[in-house]
């Protein structure tokens, strides 16, 4: 009885994302046909390239790792009614702090050093996001504005640090480089192929396990602790939360800090698992924005986000194989876009429905 209900509940929340995904692939197929290719060949390449072997799956996993973090980050903020567009910036400060921690604690053995790196990334992200949280809570500046602005601030700050503070020229006395010093071997996350040789050449690393652990932590935090209860209450109805003695201001800051710490961790894990250093760049890394899509498709639920992050990982990894099969990689962009549009449309229709109801029935608490 209870299990049945649970299955129904899960089905109800998964229904629309699944339909959206199917539609995404269908629309993608239309464009593949329009470009004189076979959708069967294309999708075969897509899935073979991303799932058919340990090594191709490994490639999918390493693409999944950062967006699993950022998706989770954005979902936490969403649950509190906040739109954290600043995961980009938080990712960037997380990454640069990871390099700093790696340098500063370089004498430490492997595990403590990894912990120091990840925590410093998380702290930096949390701090960065808290600026927006604080401004929102105390003087009501909308978080969308501040987080976008902080993204650029973070990018330029990171470039400056890479150039003038953590540059090999400054720290090691070598010639000037366009990137920071690299992590020492003790500060690098283990590659999966060192544990399971079948992963072969893939770049997958143990960061995925840190990400999955965070999914679990966030799930517990949101749904099993009083902190999560308060965050969710503020998100769903701030007036009622206030009435229930919940401090709105405090919870907005907490929510942004948690969200930022996850995005910061994404940066730190990406550095420790894959990049080992931070380069000067004029571009945003993009994981923060992808995280918005991941959170949306995952319905802001930690478990849902595992699957949606994996889906986006598959698409992004498989697109290379599709390209090799002669299909333009923009198709993947179309599929992603369609999925997002449909999932967003579902959410929109829910919001509109609520509005419509409120309009026709202005009388509070009357007939349903």
């Amino acid at each position: 009885m209870k299990g049945e209900k649970l299955i129904k509940k899960i089905w109800n929340s998964m229904k629309f994302p699944l339909i959206a995904i199917v539609l995404g692939f269908l629309v993608g197929a239309i464009f593949i046909i329009a470009s004189d290719n076979s959708p069967i060949v294309a999708y075969q390449a897509l899935f073979q390239g991303s799932l058919s072997s340990f090594s191709s799956f490994g490639e999918t996993l390493y693409k999944t790792t950062p967006i699993l973090f950022t998706g989770l980050a954005i979902a936490v903020a969403f649950r509190t009614g906040l739109f954290n567009i600043g995961a980009e910036g938080q990712y960037i400060v997380g990454a640069i702090s990871a390099v700093a921690a790696g340098w500063y604690f370089q004498g430490l053995p492997h595990l403590p050093l990894i912990i120091a790196i990840v925590i410093s990334g998380a702290l930096a992200g949390a701090l960065w996001a808290s600026i927006a949280g604080f401004l929102k809570a105390k003087i009501g500046v909308h978080e969308v504005i501040t987080t976008i602005m902080l993204n650029y601030t973070a990018l330029h700050l990171s470039n400056y640090i890479a150039k003038a503070v953590l540059n090999p020229q400054v720290l090691e006395g070598t010639e000037k480089k366009a990137h920071t010093v690299s992590l020492t071997d003790a500060g690098k996350l283990t590659k999966l192929n060192e544990i399971i040789p079948q992963f072969e050449y893939s770049s997958a690393h143990t960061g995925i396990f840190i990400a999955l652990a965070m999914v679990f932590v966030i799930y517990i935090l949101l749904f099993k602790t009083s902190i999560g209860y308060e965050l969710r209450s503020v998100g769903k109805n701030p007036d009622a939360a206030e009435y229930g003695g919940i401090n709105k201001t405090k919870n907005i800051i907490i929510s942004m800090a948690i969200s930022g710490s996850l995005a910061g961790m994404a940066g730190a894990v990406q550095v420790a698992g894959l990049l080992y250093k931070v380069s000067q760049t004029p571009n945003m890394p993009g994981y923060g924005f992808d995280g918005i899509a991941v959170a949306l498709v995952g319905q802001n639920h930690p478990i849902g986000i595992i699957f949606s992050a994996l889906l986006f990982g598959i698409l992004s990894n498989g697109s290379r194989k599709m390209q090799i099969a002669g299909i333009p990689k923009e198709i993947i962009g179309i599929i992603q876009g369609v999925i997002i549009v449909f999932v967003a449309a579902d959410q929109m229709s829910k919001i509109l429905e609520k509005r419509k109801k409120a309009k026709i029935k202005p009388k509070e608490g009357d007939e349903k």
Binding site: K5, K224, T225, S226, I227, Y229, E230, R232, S233, K236, N237, D239, A240, A241, E242, Y243, G244, G245, I246, N247, I360, K361, P362, K363, E364, G365, D366, E367, K368
Partner: protein, 512 residues
């Protein structure tokens, strides 16, 4: 007499809910016909169908004997149907006449001929005895007069059939009486009126016939002269209801539990809404604040419960200065609060019932231990309260959203009464509730009083104030304009004070 409206076998199904189940309704020419039912019974849905806001799932409508499909409000207006909603739809900065002709303006070239408009409004208003000044700005008018403007708007559009949705909810007793006269005038001029209400006294004093619906089903149509309030209540609820509150008089210890001293509070526009209010509520006493909506009650309650900043003045609970306390610290003083807007303040509608039933003490044991919530305790607690307070819900796992208004209110009452109450602040605790639930909530409030809780009741319903209060204060324009012992109070005295009159001084009522 002929039927001007005939609704036959009307069924309206919303996803998951049958709002109207095979309902028959007919309106005779020149009668005042009350549509009576509990909240959630489907009254407004039925009338929204007649006015074209909803399409019925099945059934047919005849206007003046002719089968009509009303696809939108414009069709309804063409057919001579006018609806006055509970919440007015007037442009505040426009004049009365401008509001009335809006959308059908008499024109002179490209501009609006205001002279003709004013004259027309004057003509209709005199014909039906609805006195208004066509050139007055709507924002300067009282709620009662605004309602007249709404009625005039419908008449200007040629309404022969008027639907009034809970028109008395926002009026003072005197205004209600005037509305009664207006309705009689309209009927005398050949109009027909449908009045939606759940107030039994109004039914008896105003209507010719009553149609009762319960839980979406047609129960009966009867002539008002053949019935009485007890019988109507029974039809409405489906069982015998005790309409009077059982309350023993008692001695008061005189211990001041809640003390308010010269409180000043601003509203959202930074205007002073509470202008220096002082009062005490004693242990085991119900102090009621009567008043028309919008006279500072909401801001006063929010200030006392820590939800709104206090500009100046003091609040004491059991002698402790709580003026600057956060809402949580005030709750911890033993304050229970039934908020006036249950959906805005009282519940997180998207949370399930179990999570809603701990709001306010969710962080305390046994519900939370070292930050971890104990959901089995939380569900046990919810189940207990659901049973004890008879909250009608399939289970504690459904969202608060899916409950009817009355059951949402019961859930809040259950939650607040679970606290160790020193002070209970009940703001319109029975707003929108049906007779059965009102009886229950009243019983619980009196129970709390008998157990020594100091109760501050804020209500727009004079019946409720008179039935429950030990002492009554009247709030008008942010001040308490008079207070009297419940046994000296009656509807007339309170009504005059509620409108800003000063009968208390003339009749010797005490000032605070």
């Amino acid at each position: 007499m002929s039927n001007v409206v005939e609704m036959k076998n009307i069924t309206k199904i919303f996803p998951g809910v049958i709002a109207n189940d095979d309902i028959d309704f007919n309106l005779k020419k020149g009668e005042i016909h009350v549509l009576l039912g509990e909240n959630g019974a489907g009254k407004t849905t039925l009338m929204n169908i007649l006015y074209g806001l909803y399409r019925p799932t099945s059934g047919s409508i005849f206007i003046n004997g002719e089968k009509t499909i009303i696809k939108d409000p414009n069709t309804a207006i063409e057919k001579g149907i006018g609806m006055v909603h509970q919440h007015f739809m007037l442009v505040q900065t426009f004049t009365v006449a401008e509001n009335i002709v809006l959308g059908r303006e008499p024109q002179k070239g490209l501009s609006i001929d205001m002279e003709v408009a004013n004259a027309k409004v004057r003509e209709i208003s005199e014909k039906f005895g609805l006195k208004v000044n066509p050139e007055a700005k709507v924002m300067d008018l009282s709620v009662g007069i605004q309602q007249r403007v709404e009625i005039l708007k419908a008449l200007y559009r040629g309404a022969e059939i008027l639907i009034l949705d809970e028109p008395t909810a926002v009026l003072t007793p005197q205004e209600i009486e005037e509305l009664g006269v207006i309705m009689k005038n309209l009927v005398a001029e050949g109009k027909s009126i449908i009045l939606i209400t759940h107030k039994l006294k109004e039914v008896m004093s105003i209507s010719d016939r009553v149609t009762v619906i319960r839980r979406g089903k047609f129960i009966d149509t009867i002539s008002t002269q053949d019935t009485d309030t007890d019988h109507l209540a029974e039809l409405m609820v489906g069982r015998k209801v005790n309409l009077t509150v059982d309350k023993q008089t008692k001695e008061f210890t005189g211990n001041k539990v809640l003390e308010i001293k010269d409180l000043h509070v601003l509203d959202n526009r930074f205007l002073e809404a509470v202008k220096g209010i002082s009062f005490n509520v004693n242990e085991g006493e119900i102090f009621a604040l009567a008043g028309v909506d919008g006279n500072g009650q909401s801001q006063l309650i929010e200030a006392i419960t820590g939800l709104r900043k206090i500009k100046s003045g003091m609040v004491f609970i059991n002698g402790e200065d709580v003026t600057k306390y956060s809402s949580r610290k005030i709750i911890e003083q033993g304050v229970g609060h039934i908020p006036e807007d249950r959906q805005k303040r009282g519940l997180v509608l998207d949370h399930d019932l179990a999570e809603n039933m701990i709001l306010g003490y969710h962080y305390k044991e046994p519900f939370t231990k070292k930050l971890m919530m104990n959901y089995s305790e939380i569900h046990k607690h919810a189940k207990r309260l659901i049973k004890e307070f008879d909250v009608r819900t399939p289970s504690e796992n459904v969202t608060a959203h899916s409950l009817s208004g009355g059951n949402q209110q019961k859930a809040i009452v259950a939650r607040e009464f679970h606290k160790d109450l020193k002070v209970l602040i009940a703001a319109q605790p029975t707003r929108g509730l049906d007779v059965g639930s009102i009886e229950f909530v009243h019983k619980k409030i009196v129970e709390a009083r008998n157990n020594g809780t100091a109760v501050l009741l804020v209500s727009l319903e004079l019946d409720e104030v008179l039935a429950l209060a030990d002492r009554i204060g009247v709030i008008y324009d942010g001040r308490i304009v008079g207070s009297l012992d419940a046994k000296d109070a009656d509807e007339k005295k309170l009504g005059i004070m509620m409108a800003g009159g000063t009968i208390n001084k003339v009749e010797g009522g005490e000032d605070i």
